[in-house]
Symmetry: C2
Subunit: 155 residues, 2 copies
Amino acid sequence: MEEADFMRRAIALSCDGVAEGGGPFGAVVVKDGVVVGEGRNAVVPGRDPTAHAEVVAIRAACARLGTHDLSGAVIYTSCEPCPMCLGAVWWARIAEIVYGNDRADAAAIGFDDAAIYQEVCLPIPARTLPLRRLMAAEAFEGFRRWQARPDKVPY
Amino acid sequence: MEEADFMRRAIALSCDGVAEGGGPFGAVVVKDGVVVGEGRNAVVPGRDPTAHAEVVAIRAACARLGTHDLSGAVIYTSCEPCPMCLGAVWWARIAEIVYGNDRADAAAIGFDDAAIYQEVCLPIPARTLPLRRLMAAEAFEGFRRWQARPDKVPY
């Protein structure tokens, strides 16, 4: 399979997403030239706001490969990842993102991707979605335990 | 239960995360004064890079309530959400985020939150994680089908 085939598969998955009552988004994770995970948007049919195509594809790839680390993989997605999905790609250590539609295309058909990109870059006091800090001293206990654990696995 | 109790529970979950080999992060989703979803970081033990406390808590709340829409809920999290989790909170329509540690605290113990915040705000050509556009005209097919579907459910 070539690169165009991977993108064609992601696009086909985006059409499946619509057919199933989800959003028009599809993605495949490719490692060593092989598709190791596929995903289509299932927010509404799956009743899961995190079930974006990229997140679903990454979770499928990790389940298949038995690791949280997809270093060296490439994700082909029918649309530029939203900040949630960009974060998921980052944490999965995926090496490259190849996308079709972009955030402006997504905004034009009613999705919030561009708005979330604006939001995430604002300082907290300027945000639309309010954030408030509480009990910071107590909350540090988990971090203390993490630091003290000799066999911790960073990710 | 009061607000401090919700945060105490999120902090306890962050300690559970460490005990189980995950990262030091915990979260609870509260709706109408009741905890409807809990999560602790399970990236390493669950072999899932998306298994951050907030994502796990949101998925649990949605599974319990049978909806992708958590409008009116509040999330209490032991640490400021990373961009992935902030995106998940946004898409879930959660009304407010209450957090303990912040992204600088997380960076100080080796987590990438601050780096991802920098990355997500950069224009694509300036990114560390490369993005490349491919087959945009073909990729629009899913969007066309979405727009044409009379019974689509926006989210």
